[in-house]
Each structure stands twice: as structure tokens, then as C-alpha cells.
């Protein structure tokens, strides 16, 4: 239990607590400001942590993650503008409730649900990560390949707007991951004679370009969108125990749904909250209240989106597979600090595993206290004029990409992908599958290539090894289901869910 002691040492030091406080605060802030996302902040903060202690760096990033998923509900409730995509569903009931004179109650319910969601999923994180890591240490090359294929199909089928657009986006991501030295053969490909291309496109510049710069440019397009917030009165956000009990079942159910959705690779917090909301509406005694300020709706959405955090950390730690865009950055962060997530992480750096878990729990509590204590202030920050905010973010995008490896190549890559991102979104191509494909594609290719090297070129083990066969058949079934099922199912997931578009309100109608 040395690792546990070290993690506790790191987290409960002055620095550790400071880092969690700062991280959660920054996370809530960017979460609350429409147009800024947690992904953006995490990608921009990552370069700053290169020289820092790995444990503290991860604690910082995890706190930002927790804060950002939670902060989105502030503007979702007060402005009807979800601060992050994760809170889109919260606008449905949060805003009507705030408008009808109970903004404190709406926010209070959201904070309570977020805290419980985070807590429940944390328990699953602690309980499941170890056993899954042990299980996955038995995976060979072919099993990993099939698992990754399943993940890719999963994002395409439930991720965004249409199946073909999502698939296209995912494959485009894999496509852009191709240049560079092929891990299996040790040879460079698609470099066009440019030495910098030996390393391919790095995740961070691609991510900063696709999400941060693209988002800033989109924000400039709609620079005048700055709504009038519903004002908060003097009533406390703290809810009595009676509220907790009355929402107990809903809280637990939504948290568990969120956790499971989070565990599925490739799907983020927004899908978690949609699913929990739908289920809550389905079993509710007052389904007609949903969309008009239902307490249950707020609770379901906020509990589930925070619960995806713990859920998605499980495959990341145990198998090295990122569950969402933020996880992809966290994976990159671990690799930059010389750690390889996966079955060995537990044995090699238990201190890191416990730090990630501990940071999530602490950040969850800090988030709750901070949100309740400083909500009025946060609501104010959300309406900082854009001309102050956007130029500074642009500056950080440039220096952050440069700092990654001290080369300008990355800065140009970042700018090019910003253009790509904005054009893709113009044509309603979702960006999340792109990043997941970008990260998972090379993992799949490497494992298949090495498997072929070990098997002497035979593809047979893909279907003769039971686990591999299971994963493959599941992905084929999923693909077929989403092609044919979509017609039956109606139009649930219509909107591209990567940016925080002001929400029109047709989902759930």
C-alpha cells in the first residue's frame, strides 16, 4: 500500500490541495462560460505541466475535468445556454424552473445531483478498475484490436448526428493519424520528405486546433450572443435532507446509467445525460412535467453527466483506452509523463492510480462547496465580454502548441486543423469521433500488425480466440443495429454534440 500512502501524501500536501482548488475553480469557470469547454482548458494547461510533478499534474487535470462537467449547468440554468455540451439536457428543465422564480432551487438540485453522480461513479471506479486491469492483462494483440474496433463502432453508432457522418469523421481521424513512423515496421510513411512528419501529427496541436481555435473562431462569428441571465436571489442553494431522500432512487439510477455510459469507450457526458433523462422520463409519475421545469429532469441530467467521469476513467486506467475526448488528452498527459496506462499501471505506479482516484473524489467535494458558496460570483464571470477572453485564449493556443516540442511545425498543424475543424462543422460532421479515431486508429493498427507478426501473417486468431470473436461479433451486431435500428428508433440524437450550440429545445420533445 505504498502507492496509497504516496498518493495521500501528494494530494494532502499544500500543493496538492492548492492544485485541486485551482483546478476545480478553473474547470467550473470554463464550464460556465459558453464557448469555453473543459477539453479546451485541459489541452491548454497540459503543456504547462511538462516540467511539473506527474502526480500533481494529473490531480490538476482531473479537477479541471470534474469542474468543467459541473460548471456547465450554471449558464444552462440561468441563461438557457449550456456552458458545455454535457449540460444541454439541463437547459430543458433548469431554465424553465429558473424563470418561474426558483433559480436557487434549480441550481441547488443540479449541484446535489452532480455531487451524488460523481460520488457513485467514484465508487465504481475504485471497485472495478483493479479487476478489469487484471482481466485485460490477459488480452493479446488480437483481443486489443477487436476491442478497439468495438469502441470505434460504438462512437460511430451512438455518438452524433448521422451514422455515415460519424463514421466518416472517425475514419478521417484515423486517416490523419497515419503519417509518421509506423510502430510495427519502424518505417516512416506519408512524410513527404519532411523530417517533422516522422512524428506524424501530435494529439495536442490537433486537439487545440480542432476544438480550441475552432471554438474561438466560432465564438467570434457569434460575438454578440450574450444573453441576459436570470438573477439569483438571496436564498441558499443548500437543499435539506428531505430533498435528498425524495430524489434518492432517481439519483442512484441516473448515476449508474451515467457510469455505464461513461465506461463505454468513445461516448461522453452528453450522451450519458440524454439517456438518464429519457429513462427518468419513462418511469416518472409526472412525465408531462419534463421540459417545463421538472425537478427529476434536472437531477437525472446532472447526476448522469457527472457520473460519466468516473465511468470513463475505468477503461482509461485499466486498459489504456480513452472513453471520450477529454480522456484522450488525459491519456496523452500520462504518456507525456512517462506512464503507459493499461494493465501495468497498477503494478508500476499505484501512486498515480490512487492519485487519479483521490483527486476525483476531492475535486467532487470541492466542486460542491465552491458551487454552493460562490454561485453568484460564477454567474457573473459567465458574462465576461468576449473581446477580453478570446484574444488571450488564442495566444495560449499558439504558445501551448509551440511548447509541446519546441517546434513551429506543431503551431502550423494546430492552425491547419482549426480550419479543418471549422469546415467539418459547417457540414455538420461531428468532431468527437474524429479525435477518438485519431487516438484509437493507431492502437488498432499496431495491435493487428503485431498480432500478424506473431501469428506469421494469419488473420485466423481474430475469430479463433474467444474474446476476440466476442468483441468482433458485438461490433458487427452494433453496426447492423444502428443501420437498421435507426429507422425504427426515430430521431433521438439529432444534433451534432461537440460544440455548445445554443440549444433549441427539440430533444426530448
Amino acid at each position: 500500500m505504498d502507492g496509497l500512502a504516496e498518493a495521500i501524501d501528494a494530494l494532502f500536501s499544500l500543493y496538492g490541495l492548492g492544485v485541486i482548488l485551482v483546478g476545480t475553480f478553473l474547470g467550473i469557470t470554463v464550464g460556465a462560460v459558453p464557448g469555453l469547454t473543459g477539453t479546451m482548458l485541459i489541452a491548454l494547461v497540459l503543456p504547462l505541466t511538462y516540467g511539473a510533478d506527474p502526480l500533481l499534474s494529473m490531480a490538476l487535470l482531473i479537477s479541471i475535468y470534474v469542474g468543467a462537467v459541473s460548471g456547465g449547468m450554471i449558464t444552462a440554468t440561468l441563461l438557457r445556454m449550456p456552458g458545455t455540451p454535457a449540460s444541454i439536457i439541463t437547459t430543458l428543465d433548469g431554465y424553465p424552473m429558473a424563470r418561474s422564480g426558483e433559480p436557487e432551487k434549480a441550481l441547488g438540485l443540479g449541484v446535489m445531483a452532480s455531487t451524488v453522480g460523481g460520488g457513485v461513479s467514484w465508487c465504481f471506479l475504485v471497485l472495478l478498475t483493479g479487476p478489469i486491469a487484471v482481466l485485460s492483462s490477459h488480452f493479446g494483440f488480437f483481443e486489443y484490436f477487436s476491442l478497439v474496433m468495438m469502441a470505434l463502432v460504438l462512437i460511430a453508432s451512438v455518438g452524433g448526428s448521422s451514422l455515415t457522418l460519424a463514421l466518416f469523421s472517425g475514419f478521417l481521424g484515423v486517416f490523419f493519424a497515419m503519417p509518421g513512423i509506423n510502430a510495427a515496421t519502424g518505417r516512416a510513411r506519408w512524410t513527404f520528405g519532411i523530417t517533422e512528419m516522422n512524428d506524424g501529427f501530435q494529439l495536442l496541436p490537433v486537439l487545440i486546433g480542432l476544438f480550441a481555435v475552432n471554438q474561438v473562431l466560432t465564438d467570434i462569428l457569434r460575438i454578440e450572443d450574450q444573453g441576459e441571465p436570470v438573477s439569483i436571489g438571496k436564498r441558499s442553494l443548500w437543499l435539506g435532507p428531505r430533498q435528498w431522500v425524495s430524489h434518492g432512487v432517481n439519483l442512484l439510477r441516473s448515476s449508474i446509467i451515467g457510469t455505464w455510459i461513461g465506461m463505454l469507450p468513445g461516448i461522453g457526458a452528453n450522451i450519458g445525460s440524454v439517456t438518464a433523462y429519457t429513462v427518468a422520463k419513462g418511469v416518472s409519475r409526472q412525465p408531462e412535467r419534463f421540459g417545463h421545469g421538472s425537478e427529476e429532469g434536472i437531477v437525472a441530467s446532472e447526476a448522469a453527466n457527472n457520473a460519466t467521469i468516473g465511468g470513463s476513467l475505468i477503461p482509461l486506467i485499466a486498459m489504456g483506452l480513452p472513453g471520450s475526448v477529454v480522456e484522450a488528452v488525459l491519456l496523452g498527459a500520462l504518456v507525456i509523463h512517462g506512464l503507459q496506462p493499461g494493465p501495468r499501471l497498477f503494478a508500476e505506479s499505484p501512486d498515480m492510480v490512487y492519485t487519479i482516484m483521490g483527486a476525483m473524489l476531492l475535486a467532487n467535494f470541492v466542486m460542491a462547496i465552491m458551487m454552493i458558496g460562490s454561485m453568484r460570483w460564477l454567474a457573473r464571470i459567465a458574462s465576461v465580454p468576449k473581446p477580453y477572453l478570446l484574444p488571450v485564449i488564442l495566444a495560449f493556443c499558439v504558445v501551448g502548441s509551440y511548447a509541446l516540442a519546441n517546434r513551429f511545425f506543431d503551431v502550423w498543424v494546430m492552425l491547419a486543423f482549426a480550419i479543418l475543424g471549422i469546415s467539418l462543422e459547417r457540414f455538420r460532421v461531428p468532431l468527437a469521433p474524429f479525435i477518438i479515431g485519431f487516438v484509437l486508429g493507431p492502437i488498432a493498427e499496431k495491435n493487428l500488425s503485431l498480432g500478424l507478426q506473431a501469428s506469421g501473417g494469419s488473420f485466423l486468431p481474430l475469430v479463433t480466440r474467444p474474446l476476440s470473436l466476442l468483441f468482433l461479433s458485438l461490433s458487427i451486431a452494433l453496426l447492423l443495429f444502428s443501420i437498421f435500428g435507426a429507422k425504427l428508433k426515430g430521431r433521438w440524437f439529432q444534433r451534432p454534440s461537440t460544440t455548445s450550440d445554443p440549444f433549441d429545445g427539440e430533444v426530448g420533445a
Binding site: P229, Y388, V398, Y402, A405, W412
Partner: protein
């Protein structure tokens, strides 16, 4: 805490919030002036200096990421140089990871041969050329010194039937390609594996490139691979405590060396078994070609003194690095021997893997086609149903509203990056001007205080300069 009423419209602050604004403003100017003094000071200091080498910071390029093995090693030597009192100038470490070290090595190869940018890189600099990743090898550099070597061991799972190196090779020659051997293509370990095959006629491994040490270890424990080459320090990290069941542990069958290693005396050396394969991963220091002999001499001398520091010796033994040191002819001989050893076995034995990249490119194009057709047909359908109003309006809105503003801001960023890349303008100025100009552009649409924008740009510009040069030690152009 300050109470601010969020309903207040911006610009009409109450008494209390005006006081608050004054405090913020005062504090920000205080910070700005501090940063400005620091920056002007550092600029001035750089201009003045005497002309004996080195009269400015020496940059050490590490072609791997911060926190990795190479980086740790260089940081130990850097501390040793400081402890030994060498050079008045700081030694700045620049991490330029990627492409198995080729990106950093190319950077130094193309640098001015003045001794201010040097490289620390191990045997992979030799194998990168053999693997045709780059078209240059050690000959494109001036070697400065060899500092420290790592022994390499061959590992199998603890319950493996392979007991020693001879048995491994005879198994590989009796049943060619039955032994799955972990060694990354193009890396030094790959050539060592080929040398092993050559030592026993007819022996042939199935060589699998399986990534970093932790990956290879997991695959050996899982029974997906039979044996592999690991560094000594990896082995000592991985080996499980006594009492672990043998299928959860690894066993070293040989050290690839001429003699046994003191930290694992029970593991035989390859030479003892009559197999003359020696692989020791050495850390070399390189300067660009045509660097003057005096500078090389000066650097080599400094590295020798750093290596003699007790603190460095202690750290190196903790990392299981043998504190070997070589310069001049000894170094050249060592390099040419290693190169010859690798060249003898270098062959392109590429199992024909399917061209996944081409399949993928085809598939992506196909999907692009499908998506385009779908998009076109849905647009036509929309028009038929005269439903396009909503969609078209939404799409059209963005372009006309502030499209020009967004394009101008983007072009401003591009211009500033170009200025930054040219190296003529300091970072602080670039960022200051970028934030100010884009901010002013935006403020034509959304009115904000110009003074606040000026403060913000000064703060961001000087702040990033401070962060980069003092905290992150990033090398600016």
C-alpha cells in the same frame, strides 16, 4: 467576499464594485511593471557578456520526451556540470521528442557548429540510418563523449522451458520461427536479435515489435511472446518478489555482455556461453559536424568532470548505468565497432504486412463520397419540401454576421506566428501585439474598455515570456 449583483448591466458599477475595479487595476499594473523590469533586465543581460566560449547558454537537445530515460540521464549530468562548477552559463535542456529521436537529431545536425547546441542520443542514432528512417548516421556529427552504458538482458517468463541462451537458440534453429521474440524494428535490440540468429546457424526468431518495456513485459507474462530484450533497469523493476507464482514473474537468461553484471551475479553473460553478442546501450554526446576541436575538447573535459562527481556516480548506479567514459580515439573505435556489428546483420526482413494505410485512405474516400451524395440528396429534398429556410438561414447567418471579423482575427494570428518564427521579435512583443490587435478588432463589435485591453495584452505578453523562460525553460527561436 465581494458581493456583486449579477443583474447590474456592465459599465454601471455601484460604489463597491468601482472600488473593487480600482484594486484589480492597481494590482495588474503592479504586476505588469514588475514583469517589464524583469524582462528589460534579462534582455540587457543577454546583450552584454565576454567572448570566451561559452558566453551564452548551451542548449542540450534531448530527442525524447521530458521524464523519460534519456531525459532523466541528461538532467543528472546537467546537475553534475553545475556541481563541478563548469561553465558560467546555464545549460538548457530542450526536449524534442518524436520519430525515434530523429527530429531532435536533425535539429542538431542542421545547427550552427558553434558548440551552443549539442545532442545527447544513444545507439538509436546508428540504427535510425540502417532502418532508413533518416539518411544520416553518426558520420554527420562530431562525437564528443560516451557517458554511461546500460546492460541489456534477455527475459523469459519464469515458468518457461527455456533455461539459458544456448537453449533459446537451439530451439530457434530446430523449429525456425517458433520462438516469438520481442524487439522493436529499427531499434538497437532488433539488430541484437539478428546478431543472435547469426551466432547459431539456422536459427530464426519471429521478431515482434511490441513497444515499450511495460508492453513487452505484459505480453511475455500473458504468454503472447516467448522472450525479449530488456534493459537491466527494466528487468530489476519488473522482477516480482519471491513467492510470486512463476506465471506472474520473469526470469533473466542472459546478459548481452562480455562479463556478468554485479547487480545480477547469477545471470550468465552471453560471452560465457560462446555467443559473442554484446549489446550495451551507450549514451553519446554529439555536436554538429565541423565544430572546432577546441570546443569539442572543452565540452568533453566538462563532461568528464561532471561524470566524476560523487552525486552523479550515485545517481547513475541507482539507474543501473555503468559509469563508462570515453573520448577521442577510444570513442571512435567503440562507435565504429558498434556500427560494424549492426551493419553485418542489417537486412530488410519485412514481413509483408497488409498496407493498412492504403486501405484506410480508400475507405475514407469512399465514405467521403457517401457523405457527399447523402448531403446533396438531402439538400435537394429540403428544397423540394421548401424546408430549407431554417437550415439555410442558420448556416447563412454565421457567414454574413461576423465572418470577416473571424477571418481577420485568424490572419492576424498567422501573421504573428510568422513574426515569432522569424526569431526577430521577442515572444513578449508578439503575444502583446497579437492580443491587443485581435482584441481591438473584436471591440469594434462588442464595446469594451481599450485601457483594460491594453493591460490585458501587456499582462499576457510579459506573463507568457516569464512562464516560458523562467518556469518552463522552453527554447525560444
Amino acid at each position: 467576499m465581494m458581493r456583486i449583483d449579477p443583474t447590474e448591466p456592465l459599465g454601471k458599477q455601484s460604489e463597491s464594485s468601482r472600488g473593487w475595479m480600482m484594486t484589480v487595476r492597481l494590482a495588474s499594473w503592479l504586476i505588469i511593471s514588475c514583469l517589464l523590469f524583469w524582462w528589460l533586465g534579462s534582455q540587457w543581460k543577454e546583450r552584454s557578456g565576454d567572448s570566451v566560449y561559452p558566453d551564452r547558454p548551451i542548449q542540450i537537445v534531448v530527442p525524447y520526451a521530458a521524464g523519460g530515460g534519456s531525459d532523466t540521464f541528461v538532467r543528472i549530468i546537467q546537475q553534475g556540470l553545475i556541481d563541478a562548477g563548469e561553465f558560467d552559463q546555464p545549460m538548457v535542456i530542450i526536449n524534442q521528442p518524436g520519430g525515434i529521436g530523429t527530429i531532435g537529431s536533425r535539429e542538431v545536425k542542421n545547427a550552427e557548429p558553434d558548440g551552443y547546441k549539442i545532442l545527447c542520443h544513444h545507439n538509436a542514432i546508428i540504427t535510425a540510418k540502417l532502418a532508413e528512417t533518416v539518411d544520416y548516421g553518426p558520420e554527420a556529427f562530431e562525437p564528443i563523449a560516451l557517458t554511461g552504458e546500460m546492460s541489456m538482458v534477455i527475459l523469459v517468463r519464469a515458468d518457461s522451458e527455456i533455461l539459458d541462451l544456448a537453449q533459446l537458440l537451439s530451439l530457434a534453429s530446430e523449429n525456425p520461427e517458433s520462438v516469438r521474440f520481442a524487439a522493436n524494428k529499427g531499434a538497437p535490440a532488433y539488430y541484437a536479435a539478428l546478431q543472435l540468429e547469426k551466432a547459431k546457424p539456422g536459427a530464426k526468431f519471429t521478431i515482434v515489435s511490441s513497444g515499450g518495456g511495460a508492453d513487452r513485459y505484459t505480453k511475455i507474462l500473458g504468454g503472447h511472446l516467448d522472450a525479449g530484450i530488456f534493459s537491466l533497469s527494466e528487468y530489476l523493476d519488473f522482477v516480482a518478489p519471491n513467492g510470486t507464482p512463476p506465471d506472474r514473474d520473469v526470469r533473466a537468461i542472459a546478459v548481452l555482455s562480455s562479463e556478468r553484471h554485479e547487480s545480477i551475479p547469477s545471470v550468465p553473460a552471453s560471452a560465457e556461453m560462446g555467443i559473442p553478442v554484446v549489446l550495451r546501450n551507450a549514451n553519446y554526446w554529439w555536436a554538429p559536424k565541423d565544430t572546432s576541436a577546441e570546443v569539442i575538447q572543452r565540452l568533453a573535459e566538462a563532461l568528464r568532470r561532471a561524470m566524476d562527481q560523487p552525486s552523479v556516480q550515485g545517481e547513475l548506479s541507482r539507474l543501473r548505468l555503468d559509469p563508462t567514459f570515453a573520448v577521442g580515439d577510444g570513442l571512435r573505435k567503440k562507435l565504429s565497432e558498434t556500427l560494424r556489428g549492426f551493419e553485418e546483420v542489417a537486412e530488410s526482413r519485412n514481413m509483408d504486412l497488409p498496407r493498412f494505410d492504403l486501405y484506410l485512405a480508400g475507405l475514407t474516400l469512399l465514405l467521403l463520397g457517401v457523405v457527399t451524395v447523402q448531403g446533396l440528396s438531402s439538400r435537394i429534398k429540403c428544397r423540394d419540401l421548401s424546408l430549407e429556410e431554417g437550415v439555410a438561414k442558420q448556416a447563412g447567418d454565421d457567414v454574413t454576421s461576423h465572418g470577416l471579423l473571424a477571418i481577420s482575427c485568424f490572419s492576424l494570428v498567422v501573421t504573428h506566428v510568422l513574426a515569432f518564427q522569424s526569431g526577430w521579435v521577442p515572444l513578449a512583443l508578439v503575444i502583446f501585439s497579437m492580443v491587443l490587435s485581435t482584441g481591438l478588432l473584436m471591440s469594434r463589435v462588442v464595446r469594451v474598455s481599450r485601457l483594460a485591453l491594453l493591460e490585458l495584452s501587456l499582462l499576457t505578453g510579459l506573463g507568457t515570456q516569464y512562464l516560458f523562460t523562467e518556469v518552463l525553460m522552453v527554447a525560444l527561436p
